[in-house]
Symmetry: C2
Subunit: 352 residues, 2 copies
């Protein structure tokens, strides 16, 4: 890693393209002046915005007039956008070692397809995953996979546990992160076959850097019962979206309850600092930034509809991943776990 | 159905047994005086509590000293509790036509196993489901299956759609309830094979009493995008628990934010009516009562740890199901859908 953290930005990604990406980069730069950006996108659209940002005006800007659309299917995006789109070029900068991390607010399926195609999965990893940092009552947890792929088998769930464990260990500075498997009950007999099989492997194997804590249920995520919640992508995505929906629902109820009478309105006015605290706590922008794990390179996916503050949060996540040398540490842990993982495969193979 | 709604209660079920069930029954009776209870449980424990409740003191009490434990496995419960436990006897009262509905706060697995064993599934239904009434920003929706079984195939998902549709039609009085399939994206290509296959059947079939609305995502549940959200039990259970966890998390943040300074405390005091409204809105006791669908009889599962108010809410759900003749209406809809369902089976069979 160079002295500076070199960040490749897909300037055309997301619902608002450069009008969010460029000011977002400036916000992140204010927090981390040891950052260097390379932006990929339409020069005519990006350059004028870039000039207005004093801190990052001198950033390198690479022109391309090809952009992946938000509704492109992964196969379309690969066909039309490979080699030349702003999304591809950002990933390519990581591949060529010109950047330490690529960040895009473009469409998830296309970004994952391109990242997987170009960066390839790490040795010992079958499939990449999307991990998010989830705010909890105790602090923060990592939840994965949030929908990179669906229907993981036992060995793949174990790989998720190892990668999530490495991420928690690095970002949260915990020696042996507690890792739980998301299930519909905590009893051993409960749940889908691959989940029960993965539990067996994690319990019986010697995973030195993971404190396997057994099954957890949906309500354990918000409680922060464990540092890492492992699930396959279908249920992980549903859990994430359901939590977002419930938070919005609660916020909606709160808002209408607070305006129900003059007295409650005055109360709300007096307590406005509390609402500001609450808003910050629940602000989805604070936890923006899905981390693609398991690839030979760091790629961060920002929400497509976010604003500059939210995009800056995604850059922060990427910055943290690079500064903490996460990729190298995951690689090291994977190597250490190579024996366990191959044993796991053998067990899973024998069981299937 | 008799004039009165006859409700069989497992008086020993739940974490607190008769000390919650008996006063809960009194609360429900106050709201619905056209209710008649039969209680099953330990006479020595139940009778003294019953005598203290003026409205329901004259209820029939059937003695048994066998109770299913909260940690019994379904197979254990069936072995030790069949024919004689309070849970079994409540279900048996429905089977014998002495009660219109059975309600238990006992363990879910045991209750489902006994209900399935004794009442059997309705013609055209492979497996029973657990449905809940979910509060949303628009009102209420029905979500099923919440964990009765896991890993439904396409035909079973279609059966869930039909049963959920019938429940919404009856309880919410909607001619053609909007029904959505829970998925990780709204595009046709997304998601697990059975979900995509079920979508095809629901879209192409002629389901006169369902307005099939396509895929919905986790955040659509809280929004109330559709009247009925259909998913298999694993992801449904995870969605339910994750929403509960997020609601608790939000409430925890709110409480601590409101006590952060004297000013916010005064504000909270002035706005206390608003917090009362909010608490009522988010009160999990209000939506207590999982409905077992697809059996030849109505069985309601209350949360095991609830209080009398929560148990009364579960009784309310059972009361509503009986008063609206839900079971008969589901049966009618199943008959009407028999053609579609068998067509669905054929399609699913041909596709697999």
């Amino acid at each position: 890693m160079s002295q500076k953290v070199r960040i490749a930005l897909d300037a055309m990604g997301g619902d608002h393209g450069p009008s969010v990406v460029v000011p977002g980069a400036q916000i992140a730069f204010n927090r981390h002046p040891d950052t260097e950006f390379i932006l990929f996108g339409d020069h005519a659209k990006v350059a004028p915005l870039l000039e207005r940002q004093p801190g990052i005006a001198g950033s390198r800007l690479v022109h391309t007039d090809v952009a992946v659309r938000m509704d492109d299917k992964p196969s379309q995006a690969l066909r039309h956008g490979r080699w030349k789109s702003s999304m591809w070029l950002a990933i390519d900068a990581v591949k060529r070692g010109e950047a330490d991390v690529a960040i895009s607010a473009g469409n998830t399926g296309a970004l994952m397809a391109m990242a997987k195609f170009h960066l390839r999965t790490m040795p010992g990893i079958d499939r990449p995953a999307i991990a998010a940092i989830w705010p909890t009552l105790r602090g923060r947890s990592i939840v994965l996979d949030l929908g990179a792929t669906i229907g993981a088998d036992a060995a793949q769930l174990v790989q998720l546990a190892v990668m999530g464990g490495a991420m928690a260990r690095t970002l949260f500075n915990i020696e042996r992160p507690r890792v739980g498997l998301l299930n519909i009950g905590v009893e051993e007999v409960k749940g889908l076959e691959p989940v029960r099989e993965a539990a067996k492997i994690l319990r019986d194997g010697s995973f030195a850097h993971i404190d396997y804590s057994g099954f957890v249920e949906g309500d354990d995520i918000g409680k922060g019962t464990v540092d890492v919640v492992v699930t396959e992508g279908f249920s992980g995505n549903i859990a994430l979206k359901t939590a977002e929906g419930t938070a919005r629902q609660f916020a909606g109820y709160l808002k209408s309850a607070m305006s129900q009478s003059l007295l409650t309105k005055i109360g709300a006015l007096l307590a406005r600092d509390a609402f500001r605290t609450l808003r910050d706590k629940m602000d989805p922008r604070q936890s923006n930034g899905g981390v693609f794990l398991g690839l030979n390179g760091v790629v961060i996916k920002s929400h497509g509809g976010t604003d500059p503050e939210g995009f800056a949060a995604a850059i922060d996540v990427g910055y943290g991943m690079v500064r903490h040398e996460l990729l190298g540490k995951i690689g090291q842990m994977l190597n250490r776990h190579a024996l366990e993982t191959s044993a796991a495969r053998a067990v899973a193979g024998a069981a299937s």
